[in-house]
Subunit: 137 residues, 2 copies
DNA sequence: CTAGCTGCAAATCCTTTGCAAGAAA
DNA sequence: TTTCTTGCAAAGGATTTGCAGCTAG
């Protein structure tokens, strides 16, 4: 529902623009995190979106905690909706394809670590790396 | 002992050079993973090492499994000795300082995931993010 | 109208490469 | 000598920025 996204933008003090709505739609319907370039390529015709605009929108969304950003080992940044936040991935070392894993055994560990290290822990990143079925051939 | 590192290089079919020995020494004595630039800055006077040489040496070391490379959220690559491999970190979201955490509850999870996803899992990356004691002020 | 968005081109940051000179075996 | 390493400068890919025009409110 595009109406919901308009509200989301309004509540974040952001103007409602076609680009922003389309990026939201896209990320909401994507089964995997996307790079800025993937988003740009998907939307450039439909919306004639520019790459730098894509980066700018994603960056604002990150500040407003609408999306979160992962740094992939391929040194590209991957973006996904914030509400799907607590997910982890298996990443193919050949093609960089990502697959979700459900269930996270780590949250409990966090408070223990806070005591041990003095860090104020705000989150964690867990990624498994391997070869996906296709790349195993 | 620099003699050991000479053997290490010889066994990897690499010529023994001042730059390589100094980078090995440095990483062995560093308590945290280092970026190519940090290594370069530390060694440029002592060894008049060039940035691209640093990258090249680190890249060869990675191929030969002498070091491993992490991609940090600051989009810089961090290098450490391979033998210290199975470590995870807490990373300060302000200053990017890294602290080791001992003990890894995840290895068991891997085989379960292999069955579920069809991926051939070769490793994992686990990083906790938060604010280090200094940056909490 | 005004603040906030956008496109475009140029700039920046990290990393890689081409090439010719230099050092190890 | 032969092969591998290096320094330098230039190129590369991902991301950011300056600026002038545009658009939502």
């Amino acid at each position: 529902m595009s109406r919901m996204n308009e509200t989301l933008l309004r509540e974040s003090n952001l103007k409602i623009t076609k680009n922003r709505l389309q990026i939201l739609e896209l990320l909401q319907h994507s089964s995997a995190p996307m790079t800025a370039e993937e988003i740009y390529i998907t939307l450039r015709e439909k919306s004639n979106l520019n790459v730098s605009t894509a980066y700018r929108i994603l960056s604002v969304f990150e500040d407003k905690k609408i999306v979160i950003k992962h740094q992939g080992c391929d040194s590209k940044a991957y973006y996904q909706m914030f509400n799907e936040t607590h997910k982890h991935y298996i990443i193919c070392s050949e093609c960089n394809k990502r697959v979700d894993i459900t269930n996270c055994p780590l949250c409990e560990l966090e408070s223990k670590l806070e005591k041990e290290t003095g860090y104020q822990i705000t989150g964690h990143r867990l990624e498994f790396v391997g070869k996906c079925p296709q790349c195993q051939k």
